[in-house]
């Protein structure tokens, strides 16, 4: 009994949202807004439940002295710091300067440091792919090397020719492949979205 009800709900909500996407109608917009608000509420509830579950799980692990104690302490301290910064009396919530400082001074630099590894990781990935001898990887690395040569900061007539060749490569073959890829992705995404909206097939199996 549960599945037909869920399927019917998916189809009704899907068609409603699609109609609101295509047609401007005040009543339709209000109903669609109501549905979207309900989805946001459910998502917010799930996020809150996720945070509580995470804190509970880490706290329980710490209490039972199992798992990674340092990781558990860091997670609990992080949650507590964010909650205190945003919810203390007189705080401005997510827009509070203390929350902004925690994000700008701690999270952003940590993420930037991690992405700083990209240079090394990409070279390691290229080396490993080449040692594996995969045809795709060999072609990819060869193309990357050619691009590197084309982008060399060389002056004079040779530099002009390299710059023109780099511009042509970007504007013609790369753009053609990229646009083809985008076209395919856009069509598949549109069909997949239509399928989901109309409740065709079971996306959650």
């Amino acid at each position: 009994m549960r599945r037909p009800v869920v399927a019917a709900l998916v189809i009704v909500v899907g068609i409603l949202l699609l109609a609101d996407f295509l047609v401007v109608n005040e009543s339709l917009g209000e109903i669609a807004g109501l549905v979207i608000d309900a989805v946001i509420l459910v998502a917010a509830g799930a996020a809150l439940a996720g945070v509580v579950s995470l804190a509970w799980r880490r706290g329980y692990d710490l209490w039972r002295r199992r798992g990674d104690p340092i990781g558990a302490i860091l997670v609990l301290v992080g949650i507590a710091a964010m909650l205190v910064a945003g919810l203390r009396p007189g705080a401005e919530g997510a827009g509070d300067p203390a929350v902004g400082w925690l994000v700008a001074a701690l999270l952003a630099p940590i993420a930037a440091t991690l992405f700083g590894l990209l240079f090394v990781t990409t070279i390691v990935a290229a080396r490993r792919s080449l040692s594996g001898g995969a045809r795709d990887a060999v072609l990819l690395v060869a193309a990357a090397l050619v691009t590197l040569v084309l982008l060399l900061p060389v002056g004079g007539e040779v530099g002009d020719w390299l710059a023109q060749a780099a511009g042509w490569t970007l504007a013609v073959p790369v753009a053609a492949v990229f646009r083809g890829l985008l076209l395919g992705i856009a069509i598949l995404a549109a069909v997949f979205a239509a399928r989901t909206l109309l409740g065709i097939g079971a996306t959650d199996d």
Binding site: L22, L114, F115, L118, S129, D136, L140, I187, F192, D205
Partner: protein
Amino acid sequence: MPSPADLVGRLVRFVGEILGASSLRFEIGPTLAVLGILLVLLQLVARPVSRWASSDAGGLTAVGRAMALAAESGTDVVVSLGNGGLVRATDALARLQTLAALPSLSHVARAAARSGVPLRVLTSDPMAMVTAAATVEAGHETTETLERRGRSRIVYVGEGRATAAGLVLTTRAHPAAAFAVGSLREEAVLQLEGLRGGAGSLTAGTAEPAQVSSVLLAGGSIIGPGAYQVAADLRADPTERTMVMAANRLILIGVVAIVVGAALAAAGILDPAAFLAGAAAE
């Protein structure tokens, strides 16, 4: 008591009033394009095409071998659903990829349940966690191995793409196999390299056009549109194949529209850009 004709008349008037108070949000071209997608899809659902040549672009049909290795070595198998999530702050394309990754997770979950291999699913979204848990449970239900459900874990890796990459790079576990299908963006190389380094084998794919090179470098082969159609090669369900057939027809229509439109524009007869996309011709 109103007569049936009176009732029909009122209904028609009511529908007319609603239509009168409505207008199209887009130009006629984009609206017809959206409705055309639905029409092609529904036409194929009503009359499914049975011809199909399986390709297994992602190598997911060999998941049984990975499970055998995992069972032999006593390790687990990792599935990353990418970092798009379902309700976190990101765009629709990233969310759709998380949904598109679920059939792959389902396939791996069934194989893991059958082989008694614990599954570790990585996701950065609470709603995706719930959906992944339901998918893993469905795998155990299908294979009648619900007693093994407790061994699999759904791991919330934290908010943000950097966090997911950081977790994969620093984890000490060495799974027998790793599967990463979903939205991967700036963290793609970090995450895939982290999974590739620790796992016995890696199957990777994403529909992010800018990350094709990252996936190829990691040894993956599900790129671009393939991320949406990989399920069609995994399941005998005609619905999955219908989606690919519909996409193929739409691609054909798109190619014909581009060729004919380019010819018309070159001949100076008509520029269809404004009609189709609402864009001003240069």
